[in-house]
Point group: C2
């Protein structure tokens, strides 16, 4: 998350749509994003993949604009566009010269209500998604292991389901599912407009009122219903063996609090912990496994802090050719045990904090990254103030809070270990 | 499942309620059961435990009969009563002298529509259920491991959720949840009446019409919506370590077809396979691990064939004090590999078939068991004819079909292995 110099403003239209304006005057361009507070974890039971499928279908035209018209306009304006679906949100993105902001807003507002879907459009697109899934997972044992690890970590919460959905459920998605989902979630109350660029707040808000403001309110935010994961009690090891694996690897994924669910200070401590433990070649894990013990060719850790519900802390390593995954995993465990029982060096701690905050400042150089940070934060229940306070939160982390975070959350029973192995596909 | 000599009849009331009458004239008693085609796997998302909770609440009285009245009458008549909730069904049971059948039916029919629930009744009963859960799992590491293994095996399908529910979801169940569930599932179209005993079909049907027949039809069966499990791709090992464990043990649970989902012949082959592999002290697993290699003090296998969806095949072993669970598991794997690659001895096969069919015939001696078999079969989508044909299906199993069932279904990637270990609770 970024620490903030830009004066960022936050407002709400009468129909409930939120507006965040991020001034960035270095170039006469504008980044325009609409974020919906629904991701794959909000897919109705048995309809996994619908959030992502609908993201595809949002490019299929409305009662006002035929399929492809919006994309053509963006291209004609020399702009870029994109869209993405995550577990917690779906977002639509365009970048163009700043004088075209109104056009982008008109088109995006239009597809918030006017989507037209027929079987002729929906059914072939479903095949596109199924092919996308095949390409990503069917030929990639690493992707298959990741799916199995997530499904094991989240046996009850929908984070265990891949964003793209399970194949057998994607196959059953139809026009009615898509329209029901669209009607439920694509509403002004559920949307956040993020505009970053060489713009004035008042101008953006006026444009927003004249475009998005015309979308009728639905009266209330859609409800996000998610099963929560029970407290884990047992360690789980997932092993995927496949002749296509060229490089064995080990990972550990711990279920931990997110910025949204954590008690004050805990998420920042986990962030600093991840950086100290596994952020690059000066990290404790890298030094222990790669440099000192020479049992890994690479190792790292990261904290996926932005999530509406309990989230994931990843630790991974790639063994040297003569190291077994069991030995590598035991060494990882030892390092984690060290983090949970001893205090990190004070200088290392300050270096990690400085680096995290600096990275966030550097990232503000990229207008789209900046817009993305605010969008993801707001879509997962944080506020503009939370984002702006983030550098202070990181700097407030102490060696004690890093140790305590490791001791409280990096417990074996909260973890799923994943082993990717070269070998026969597993039979009896 | 039983092979059948009794002439069993099957009929349907006008309101959709099914009636199965099982003549059994050895004593002047009658077993009266009502089965509802809804179990814990039909619990709405986020409401786990509601099927079981409602089973408790069904004893809380109706607009016609106060709490306890039904149970008192059963006791006064010298009868017995019980109720149980499974993943696929909920059933209510009474046994009494045959002349009291009408009274049992009147009371059971009454609580199909007349249930009265207030917060004063529902809230304390929820505490009873929470306490039941605490007693069963919080002090029992073996129960905790079983829950974790099931949750891992079924990451998407609701068989991964305990029948009693997850604690945090039970806590949120209230009167409105209970009534909504009751209205949805406790309908004549969803119910099966099983009467076994010294009764005539015509008499039972007449009584049923005069009692259950008065319950208004709802027009259609309730829909059972369940997420299906994706095809598993990776083996999973779940390890639970706890100082309270006195005896370490290993289990393997494979996801396999049920009698309801399997292609013809496959479920019977799995049944015979389980018996050959692990049915008692003459089984292949017992001979290999306990008698020959002396690495286990006990070992066995069983097939949980009666299930609406893909079900479970269990293999388990208890190691000798000087055997590790890894070694025991490797030996189990070897035995299973043998089943998948070689044909069982012809005499052993016939012995297994004879034993399975004989067990079923013996079990008919118990009126309640007989009623239970038919009820469970019908509630999971089978027919009276399926049950009656079962001995023939078992006798039709060949050595090839046993081997092929092992080769097709007892694959490591379809399995979750569970290790129960004496030791510290797992920390980093």
């Amino acid at each position: 998350m970024p620490g903030g110099t830009p004066r960022i403003t936050h407002a709400t239209l009468e129909n409930g749509m939120e507006i965040v304006v991020i001034p960035d005057r270095r170039a006469p361009v504008v980044t325009h994003m609409v974020w919906y507070r629904n991701g794959s974890a909000d897919d109705p039971a048995g309809k996994s993949g619908i959030a992502h499928f609908l993201e595809h279908l949002m490019f299929k035209g409305t009662s006002k604009h035929p399929q492809g018209a919006f994309s053509e306009v963006v291209a004609e304006l020399g702009g870029q566009e994109n869209a993405f679906t995550s577990t917690d949100y779906t977002a639509y993105f365009q970048r163009a010269s700043k004088e075209h902001l109104r056009v982008l807003m008109e088109f995006e507002a239009d597809r918030m209500t006017g989507l037209v879907l027929s079987d002729e459009i929906v059914n072939p697109e479903r095949d596109v998604v199924l092919e996308e899934r095949r390409m990503r997972t069917d030929t990639d044992p690493g992707a298959q292991l990741n799916e199995a690890v997530q499904a094991t970590l989240y046996s009850h919460h929908p984070y265990g389901t891949p964003i793209i959905g399970w194949n057998h459920e994607i196959e059953s998605l139809d026009r009615f599912d898509a329209l029901a989902y669209y009607d439920r979630f694509y509403t002004p109350e559920n949307a956040i407009l993020i505009v970053a660029g060489d713009v004035e707040q008042d101008d953006v808000e006026m444009l927003a009122r004249e475009t998005y403001g015309l979308v009728p309110s639905r009266g209330a935010k859609p409800v996000r219903r998610r099963q929560q994961e029970p407290e884990p009690r047992a360690h789980r090891l997932v092993t995927l063996s496949d002749p296509k694996v060229e490089q064995p690897s080990a990972q550990r994924v711990y279920m931990v609090p997110s910025y949204t669910t954590a008690k004050p200070g805990v998420a920042a401590a986990l962030e600093v912990l991840a950086h100290l433990l596994g952020g690059g070649s000066t990290s404790i894990l890298y030094k222990a496994l790669v440099l000192d013990r020479k049992i890994a060719v690479a190792a790292g850790a990261y904290y996926m802090g932005t999530a509406l519900d309990e989230t994931r802390f990843f630790v991974w390593g790639i063994p040297t050719p003569d190291t077994t995954l069991d030995d590598l995993d035991a060494a990882v465990e030892e390092v984690i045990h060290g983090m949970a029982t001893t205090l990190v060096d004070a200088d290392d701690l300050v270096r990690a904090q400085t680096r995290l905050v600096a990275d966030a400042v550097y990232a503000q150089d990229n207008q789209a990254s900046l817009a993305r940070w605010y969008g993801a934060a707001l879509a997962t229940g944080l506020t503009v103030e939370d984002v702006e306070r983030w550098p202070d939160d990181i700097e407030a982390v102490t060696a004690e809070s890093v140790r305590d975070a490791a001791a409280a959350w990096l417990l074996k029973r909260r973890a799923v270990t994943g082993f990717l192995i070269t070998g026969e596909e597993q039979e009896a």
